[in-house]
Symmetry: C2
Subunit: 527 residues, 2 copies
C-alpha cells in the first residue's frame, strides 16, 4: 500500500505540509495517491539515525550483509504486480520494461550479495613486521576498505527501479556497509515507496540497525540540498541531468568538509561511422540506429545523440535511410510532461541553430505526452563552432554531423565534452587505420563500443558506466557493476594492531579465506 509517507528509519512519518502527486502520462492525469514531502526535522532525524546505524552496520559481516541484500531482492519480488502496475502508472513505460528493470535490480542486489559474502572485495593488504630492520624496525601494517559513512542516493527519473531506491547506488552502498538515505524521485514516489517498504521489511526481519535506510519524499530540490549539506552525510550518489548533478557537486564542494559526489549525468554518446562500414552496411545501420535512438522514447543516458561520418554519397544515403526509418517509427509516450517539455525545449533550441537541417521531424498529431522524434544534420565546421549543438537532447533525437575530412572529424572528437560511451562503426581493416581518431575518442569516453549501439548497459564487472566530466563527476569510478562499490569505501590501515582485535579480513588465520596481498603476494594463505 502506498501511504505517501516518508520512512525515517523504519518509521512511517509525515510531519511536513507539502503534498504532491505523481502523474500518469498515458492517461494524462494525476495519479490518485499523494505524498508528503519530508520536513527539515525528518531529514535531520533520518541522517542522525543513519549516522548512529553506521556504528553498528560498519562492522557487520559480509555474510550478514549478503543475507540483507538477498532479502531485499526477495521482498522486492514479493511486491509482485502491485509494484509493476504502480511503476507503469507513474512512468507510462510498458509492463515488459518494468519487469526487465525489476530483474536488473534484483540481479544487482544479488551480485553485491555474492561479492560481499565472498569477501575479497575489501582488498585486504598485509605487510608483516621486520623488528630488526635497520635503521628503523618495520611495523606490522594491514589495510582494507571500510565504509565511508552515510550515503545519500537520489532516485533517477528514467530508472525507477535499477537506478533508484534499491538500485545500483543503494545496493553498492549497503554492500559496502554504508547506511543509505534515499531521496525519492518526485515523478515515481509511489513506486519508490513500495520499494522502500520492501527494504524496511527486510531490515525488520533481519534486525538490521534502525536508520540503515531511510526514504524521503521530495517535490523539488530543497530536500536534496539539505541532505547534501548535512554534516553527517559522507557521500552522494546521483543519476540525472548535468544541471542537477553539477548543483549537488558544487554544494558538496562548498561544505566545510567537502564530500565525494558521484553523479552520472548522461551524455550524447558519439557514434563514428567509418567510410567502408557505411558503404557496406548502410541500410542495416540506419535500421539499427533508428531502434537505438527511439528505444524507451530516447530516455536513456546512453542514447546515441551524435552520429559522425565523412561526407560522401554513402553518408547522404545513410541520412536518407535513417530519416525514413525514424519517420516510420510510431511515437511513444515520455515519462512525464516535464520531461516532454524539456525535450521540446532542447530540441527547439537545436532546430533553431543556424545551419542545421531537419532530416525528419515527426509532426503528426499525437496523444498528450508523446514525443515527436527528430533527426537533424549539420556540417562538421558548423558543429565545431557551435557548442550548443554538443549538448544532450534527452529524448528520441539525434544529430548527424557531416565532416569534410578525417582531420576535421578528429578535431571535433578531440573537442567533445566527456561522454559515457563512444561507438565506432568500422570494417576490420578500418579499425587498424584510424588510430588517431580512436585514441581521441577514447580520451573523451568511459566505454568504447565496436560495431554496436551504446544503448544497453550490461551489468557486469567489466562495465564502465561513467566517464570524463560531464558524463560523470569523477571518471575514476563506475556507476554500474560490482566495482561501483569503490565509490563508497575508503582504505584504512591498522599499525601493530593486536591480531584478535583486527577485523576478520585482516587476522593472521584468515578466517574468511579471502584473497589478500601479503608482503606483495596475492594469496589466501594464513600468516
Amino acid at each position: 500500500m502506498i501511504t505517501g509517507k516518508n520512512y525515517v528509519g523504519n518509521q512511517l512519518s509525515a510531519k511536513g505540509n507539502k503534498i504532491f502527486t505523481t502523474f500518469n502520462p498515458v492517461l494524462n492525469t494525476k495519479n490518485s495517491w499523494t505524498h508528503t514531502e519530508a520536513s527539515k526535522e525528518e531529514i535531520n532525524e533520518a541522517v542522525t539515525l543513519a549516522s548512529k546505524a553506521y556504528e553498528e552496520f560498519k562492522n557487520i559481516s559480509g555474510k550478514d550483509k549478503a543475507a540483507f541484500l538477498n532479502l531485499i531482492a526477495d521482498e522486492l519480488l514479493a511486491l509482485d504486480n502491485h509494484l509493476i502496475k504502480t511503476y507503469c502508472l507513474e512512468t507510462g513505460l510498458p509492463e515488459g520494461r518494468a519487469q526487465g528493470e525489476r530483474s536488473r535490480t534484483v540481479f544487482q542486489l544479488r551480485s553485491f550479495a555474492e561479492l560481499v559474502a565472498e569477501g575479497s572485495w575489501v582488498e585486504a593488504t598485509i605487510d608483516t613486521p621486520i623488528p630488526d630492520r635497520t635503521p628503523a624496525s618495520k611495523p606490522d601494517l594491514r589495510k582494507m576498505n571500510i565504509p565511508i559513512g552515510p550515503v545519500v542516493v537520489f532516485g533517477a527519473s528514467n530508472f525507477p527501479l535499477a537506478y533508484s531506491t534499491a538500485g545500483g547506488d543503494t545496493a553498492a552502498a549497503l554492500a559496502a556497509g554504508c547506511p543509505v538515505i534515499v531521496k525519492s524521485h518526485p515523478m515515481h514516489a509511489g513506486t519508490s515507496e513500495l520499494v522502500a517498504s520492501a527494504m524496511v521489511k527486510a531490515i525488520k526481519k533481519l534486525g538490521m540497525p534502525n536508520g540503515v535506510f531511510s526514504h524521503l519524499n521530495s517535490s523539488g530540490i530543497a530536500v536534496g540540498q539539505q541532505l547534501v549539506k548535512h554534516p553527517k552525510v559522507k557521500a552522494v550518489g546521483f543519476t540525472g541531468s548535468i544541471r542537477g548533478g553539477r548543483a549537488l557537486l558544487d554544494l558538496a564542494a562548498q561544505r566545510n568538509e567537502p564530500i565525494p559526489v558521484f553523479a552520472e549525468m548522461g551524455s550524447v554518446n558519439p557514434v563514428v561511422i567509418l567510410p567502408e562500414a557505411l558503404q557496406s552496411r548502410n541500410a542495416e545501420l540506419a535500421k539499427t540506429y533508428a531502434n537505438s535512438i527511439t528505444l524507451g522514447t530516447g530516455q536513456f543516458c546512453t542514447n546515441p545523440g551524435l552520429i559522425f561520418g565523412l561526407k560522401s554519397k554513402a553518408l547522404d544515403q545513410f541520412i536518407e535511410h535513417l530519416g525514413r526509418e525514424i519517420q516510420a517509427k510510431e511515437s511513444t509516450v515520455m515519462l512525464h510532461p516535464n520531461i516532454l517539455e524539456a525535450y521540446e525545449a532542447s530540441k527547439s533550441k537545436a532546430l533553431s541553430q543556424p545551419k542545421t537541417t531537419v532530416v525528419t521531424h515527426t509532426k503528426d498529431k499525437m496523444p498528450a505526452n508523446y514525443a515527436q522524434q527528430a533527426i537533424l544534420t549539420v556540417q562538421g565546421a558548423d558543429f565545431l563552432e557551435n557548442h550548443s549543438l554538443h549538448q544532450e537532447v534527452f529524448g528520441p533525437f539525434s544529430l548527424i554531423v557531416q565532416c569534410e575530412s578525417l582531420r576535421e572529424l578528429e578535431s571535433i572528437i578531440a573537442n567533445l565534452e566527456g561522454q559515457l560511451t563512444g561507438t565506432l562503426i568500422a570494417n576490420s581493416t578500418e579499425i587498424n587505420q584510424y588510430q588517431t581518431l580512436i585514441s581521441a575518442l577514447q580520451n573523451r569516453v568511459g566505454r568504447l563500443i565496436y560495431n554496436g549501439v551504446p544503448t544497453g548497459v550490461e551489468v557486469c564487472p567489466s562495465m564502465v558506466h561513467g566517464g570524463p566530466y560531464p558524463a560523470s563527476t569523477d571518471s575514476r569510478f563506475t556507476a554500474v557493476g560490482i566495482h561501483s562499490i569503490k565509490r563508497w569505501v575508503r582504505p584504512f590501515s591498522y599499525q601493530d594492531w593486536p591480531n584478535q582485535r583486527l577485523p576478520d579480513e585482516l587476522k593472521n588465520e584468515n578466517p574468511l579465506g579471502i584473497s589478500r596481498l601479503i608482503n606483495g603476494e596475492q594469496s589466501t594463505r594464513k600468516i
Copy 2:
C-alpha cells in the same frame, strides 16, 4: 648545476622576469643561486606539451615505464653529493635525513617500477560474450585502468625529495602513464631543479616523449593557480597546508570541467593514552613522545599534536615527565623563516587561548630560525568548546587534553576533524574494553596505531597516508604506497572490441601473463 631555469618539457627555459632565491636557515642567509619563475607562456607550453606527450605515453608498455622509473632513480643517485649538499643548504636538515629521504624516494620509484613491470595493477576485468542469451545477447566487455591525463604535482616544503619533484605523487602518476608537470616548492627550488635534471636525463636517454615531464619554478601561488585552472590538466597532487590544499580544491571544483585534487594536508594526529598503560609506562611514554614531537623539528604531517588522557595522578606525572623531556631537548632549526613565523603565530594563538596552561615552553636564546618547543595542557571541556585548539601547530608542539571521564573523551574524539592517524596507547586488556572510543577514533582517521608513535610513514602497500577531510581532500585514496597510483587512473571498458586491437592487458592470449578477473574468477589463464 643549478641554472635557475624551468624545464618546459626537456628544454631549459627562463622567459619570465620574476627572480627569487632559496634560503639557508642555518646560516640565516640567502643561497647564492637564483631562480626564474615560470611565465604564463611557459606554463601553457608545458601543459600543451604534456597533453601531446600523453597521446604517446598512455600507450607505452609497463616494462618501458618501469625502465623509465628505474633510470630516474639511477640518475637521482648519480647526482650524489651535489644533491645532498643542496638539499641541506635549502632546508637546514641534516645530511642523514637527506640521505634517508633520497633512499625513500628511490625506493618509491623502484616500487612503482616493479608494480607496472608486473602489470596486474591495471585490474583487468573480462566478461566473455553470450551471443545466444535471451532476451538480449551479452556483449564482450573488457575493462582496465588507464591514465587520467596530465597531472600537476606540487612540491612539499617538508619533503624536498620524497613528496616533491620525483616523489610519490610523480612516481605514481608516471607509473600510471600520466605526464607530470611539477610546480617546484620555492623553498627548495635548487634541489628540485637538480632532481628535474636527472629526470630529463632519463627521458632523453630512453627517448620518452618530450613533455612527459616539465618542471616550473614559482615564488608564490600564481603559477600553481594557473596550472590548476588549465583545461588540459586532468588531476592535481598536493602535500601541504590545509589553506593551500583547500584553495586548490576550490579552484578545481570551480572549473568548467572539475578535476580530482588529491591534497594531503596534514593533521594533529590524536594520541589516546588509556589509564593502565599510562600507569605502567609513564616515564617511558614521555620519553618516546618527546622524541616523536621534536623529530625533524616537528615538521611532519604525522607529528603528534594532541595527547588525550583521563584525569589522574598518573596523567599529572606524565605531563610532568613529558615537560621535562621536552625541556631537555636541544632546539633545532626549522626549514625556513616563513615556517618558523607560521609556527610562532599558531603557537602564540594556542598560548593565548583562555584556560590553556603551559607545561613547558623553551625560551632560551637560540640561533635564528630555531624553534622553541612547547607543551600545553587544557581541560577536556575547554578543549571541546574551543575549536581553535583543534588546529595543527606545525612544529615541535603538542597539547595534552585532560578528560574528566571516558564519555567526555569519546565525545571529544567523535568531534575531531579528520586526521591522518590516531594512536592508541593501551595495555592488552584495555584494547578490549574501549570499543566505543576506538570506533570513534577509527571514524576520524586513515590509520590506527597501537602502542607506537604516528611519526614514521612506512612505504608499503598496506600504508594509508590520507584520511577524512581535512587530513586529505578525498579519503578514498592514499598518498603513500603502490595503491596511490589509483588517484591517477580511471577504469575504461571496451565492448566487442577486436582482440588484436585491444591493449595487451585485455587480449585473449594474455601476453603479459597478468592476473585478471575473467567471468568473476581471478586468474592468469588465456581465453
